[in-house]
């Protein structure tokens, strides 16, 4: 977690400046006074500034959870969230009756919310963390259908002896296809275009 040291004429001023730099509120901070400082004679001779250490005391996972919860509440989607943290990966499982609306066409709403959640979470972390939002095992189901699609299009590319371009997909979905076809010696995969329109190409090897 982020920590900075700040100085000021008084302890209060030092704390104030630290909070401003960290852009947090007093309740979200852990404050240690290193030196209370000294006014000195007439405020000139022998004065010493106050020094404080201020540590950000916000749990990034909780903030991210709160974010998802409040967004879903405002979309009238009641949800429960389960979270699993493994190293720098955070997995949130959203449990709800109305997941259809939350997932959207080809997962676009879920992907959008996922990238926003990642943004929120990483405001409070030192190390960059990757967020995965899942609802009703959507990611698993999507992975299975992408692998199927990959294999089907690979044989089509071979049969027709030409390249096949897939529709634009986010990087984590392209990765699934790349690795599904990595062992296939008859085809090669690569991506073209720039995000967010980057798309994968399956090319037969002649």
């Amino acid at each position: 977690m982020k920590e900075i040291t700040a100085t000021g004429q008084t302890v209060d001023e030092a704390v104030e400046s630290a909070l401003k730099q960290l852009k947090i509120k007093k309740e979200q901070a852990l404050i240690t006074v290193v030196d209370e400082g000294k006014k000195g004679l007439f405020g000139i001779f022998g004065s010493r500034p106050a020094i404080v250490k201020v540590k950000v005391n916000i749990d990034p996972i909780e903030e991210a959870k709160k974010f998802v919860k409040s967004v879903c509440d405002n979309m009238d989607i009641p949800i429960e969230i389960e979270s699993v943290v493994e190293g720098k990966n955070v997995h949130f499982n959203l449990i709800s009756e109305k997941t259809g609306l939350l997932i959207g066409k080809r997962g676009q709403t879920l992907n959008a919310l996922q990238s926003l959640t990642q943004q929120v979470l990483n405001r409070y972390t030192d190390q960059y963390m990757v967020v995965v939002l899942d609802a009703e095992n959507y990611r698993k189901r999507r992975e299975e259908s992408l692998v199927q699609l990959a294999n089907r299009l690979a044989s089509k590319a071979l049969r027709e002896r030409k390249e096949i371009k897939l529709e634009p997909m986010p990087s984590f979905e392209r990765k699934i296809i790349h690795s599904a076809l990595a062992d296939n010696e008859k085809v090669k995969t690569y991506s073209i275009g720039t995000e967010p329109h980057r798309r994968l190409v399956i090319q037969p090897k002649f």
């Binding site: 852009k23 967004v71 405002n74 979309m75 709403t109 990238s115 926003l116 995000e195």
Partner: protein, 77 residues
């Protein structure tokens, strides 16, 4: 709708108290005008508009279920 936009934008910015949303209703569309602190604009738009796009995706997904009119989200200074 305003609550949803607020809940999406406020956690992203450094000055949540300066987030304002104004709804302009026309015949067949509603435009939500979002303004944020000058220093926060970059955060709300993101690299190549990535964040703005994500915000719009969520907002429009909800708009389709509730509003009969077309909904737009404008980000202004």
């Amino acid at each position: 709708m305003k609550n949803l936009i607020e809940s999406l934008v406020k956690p992203l910015v450094d000055y949540p108290e300066e987030v304002t949303i104004e709804a302009v209703e026309e015949d067949n569309r509603i435009i939500y005008k979002l303004t944020v602190h000058k220093d926060d604009i970059g955060k709300v738009i993101g690299k190549r508009g990535r964040v703005a796009k994500a915000i719009r995706t969520v907002v429009y997904a909800y708009a389709h279920t509730t509003e009969n009119k077309k909904v737009f989200l404008e980000i202004t200074e």
